[in-house]
């Protein structure tokens, strides 16, 4: 016997969470784009998507965020630090790959300096993951040692029932337990079985890839030049990635006042590493693409002991020239050793 939540109780569930002071965010499709957005009714949710086009990362690390408001006076500079409100949020219907992304980025944002913007939001959020019941051609979580029912990053894990009527509920953390408590009257004990998890084929051998990347001989390999030929250098793969976290600090304003902002930046852009002198250490697209792969499967691993990829497949799914991590890592796997 496990506790289950029925689909037809979702409206009550949202109401209960709102009553407990939470905003409820779920996958929504608005203006031809799917992302996480606030919902008030269950029918606003788009729970049948394989994945939202935008990741849940956006909700913790927004594409642009004001940090400091400043005024430059004759003899002094007045500044005001802007911190996000500590709003309590429930994220309902997060896919395991997106939830893992948050867990993967945690050590980065807390490494030599604790990023209050990230952790302020993390600590006030509860992640309710729903295990996948479908996968598409681009999904590759199993290749990076995750799975369609991975609980990584989840505070509450929901597993779809085989008849589609609801989900098995399991709290995974203290925050999750507390959240489940707020809806305990809406849950029921049941022996209904969970639906089988979809099969996601392994597309590359990540161990082999990591070994090849770690070999310094391969850094200047012709492989990089060939694989990145068609990359046009846009940033969509990085901006839609659940773990990419590079940002740029920009001052926006005039001579007397302005706002210092934290904006997403992308290693795909030529400008990313451009020095003031005009020298650019990564001056070709192939060196930039190499950086992206190395960062995810070598440097991040070296620093935090985990690969910075959750296998969501968005990089390939929306790439205008059909590139992406899968193809590159497949090619590395198949290189003659």
């Amino acid at each position: 016997m496990t506790r289950i939540l029925l689909r037809n109780k979702l409206d009550d569930c949202i109401a209960a969470w709102q009553k407990a002071g939470f905003s409820v965010l779920a996958p929504v499709k608005r203006h031809e784009m799917s992302s996480f957005g606030e919902v008030r009714k269950a029918d606003e949710m788009a729970l049948d998507l394989v994945l939202t086009e935008r990741t849940i990362k956006d909700q913790f690390f927004p594409q642009t965020e004001p940090l400091i408001k400043y005024k430059i006076g004759k003899h002094q500079i007045d500044s005001e630090t802007m911190t996000p409100p500590e709003k309590k949020r429930v994220f309902f219907g997060v896919r395991p790959c997106d939830a893992s992304g948050l867990a993967i980025d945690d050590p980065l944002f807390g490494w030599d300096y604790k990023d209050d913007y990230w952790f302020g939001r993390r600590e006030n959020s509860v992640i309710v993951t729903i295990a996948c019941s479908q996968a598409d051609d681009f999904c590759m979580c199993t290749s990076v040692k995750l799975s369609p029912d991975s609980t990584k990053g989840a505070d509450v894990m929901l597993r779809p029932l085989s008849d589609g009527s609801g989900w098995q509920v399991e709290a995974m953390s203290d925050r999750g337990t507390a959240l489940v408590e707020t809806i305990s009257s809406l849950l029921q004990e049941s022996s209904a079985e969970a639906a089988p998890v979809p099969q996601v084929a392994e597309k590359f051998d990540v161990e082999k890839v990591m070994e090849w990347l770690a070999d310094k001989e391969n850094f200047e390999s012709q492989f990089w030049k060939d694989i990145a030929l068609r990359c046009v250098g846009c940033g969509s793969c990085t901006f839609l990635c659940p773990t990419c976290h590079c940002f740029d600090i920009q001052d926006e304003g005039d001579t007397y006042q302005g706002i210092r902002r934290k904006n997403w930046d992308s290693c795909s852009f030529a400008l990313f590493t451009m020095h003031t002198s005009g020298h650019n250490p990564r001056n070709t697209q192939s060196t930039r693409w190499r950086q992206r792969i190395m960062h995810k499967f070598n440097y991040y691993q070296g620093k935090f002991g985990v690969n910075s990829c959750t296998g969501c497949g968005r990089c390939t799914r929306q790439c205008p020239v059909d590139m992406g991590i899968t193809e590159t890592l497949q090619a590395i796997t198949n290189l003659p050793r």
């Binding site: 905003s23 996000p84 409100p85």
Partner: protein
């Protein structure tokens, strides 16, 4: 009680004709609305659409772009090029919902001080009726506030 709305108008003018026209309006002691801020440029050909966007971003309620009559350009053809650019830019602004009434274009020669004064008064009155360009200014306000989460 809140202050009555005073339109902010930015005028991008060429130095050879419209600026001289504005100067003539002044020396002729013609009175015109003080709501206009004049930005003098070498030629209408130098007035990038970017200037108009920047003016709106910084809170202008209306923009005037003005230069020499066709045939009178100090640089022979700057205003002809500008005219094509405006035609297209105006269509773009209109299509994206920036009201045409807020972006005006005119030819004012160095001898047309009176036309300048009248036009500024007319634009000021019209803008007063239109009210502040809040739709655009709201976007600026949003930037200055912290995200809601």
């Amino acid at each position: 009680m809140s202050d009555p709305f005073e339109p902010k108008i930015v005028a991008f003018v060429c130095t050879y004709c419209t600026y001289a026209g504005a100067d003539l309006a002044g020396t002729s002691r013609l009175k015109y609305a003080p709501n206009v801020r004049i930005v003098r440029l070498p030629c209408t050909g130098r007035i990038s659409p970017m200037f108009i966007l920047k003016a709106l971003q910084k809170g202008a309620d209306s923009v005037l772009v003005s230069g020499c009559h066709p045939g009178d350009c100090h640089f022979t053809s700057g205003n002809y090029h500008a005219r094509r650019r405006w035609t297209v830019f105006r269509a773009l602004l209109s299509f994206t919902g920036i009201p045409e009434e807020r972006i005006r274009f005119s030819w004012i020669s160095a001898a047309e001080g009176a036309k300048f004064a009248e036009l500024i008064n007319e634009i000021t009155d019209d803008t007063r009726k239109l009210g502040p360009f809040t739709q655009y200014q709201e976007l600026q306000k949003v930037i200055e506030t912290q995200s809601s989460y």
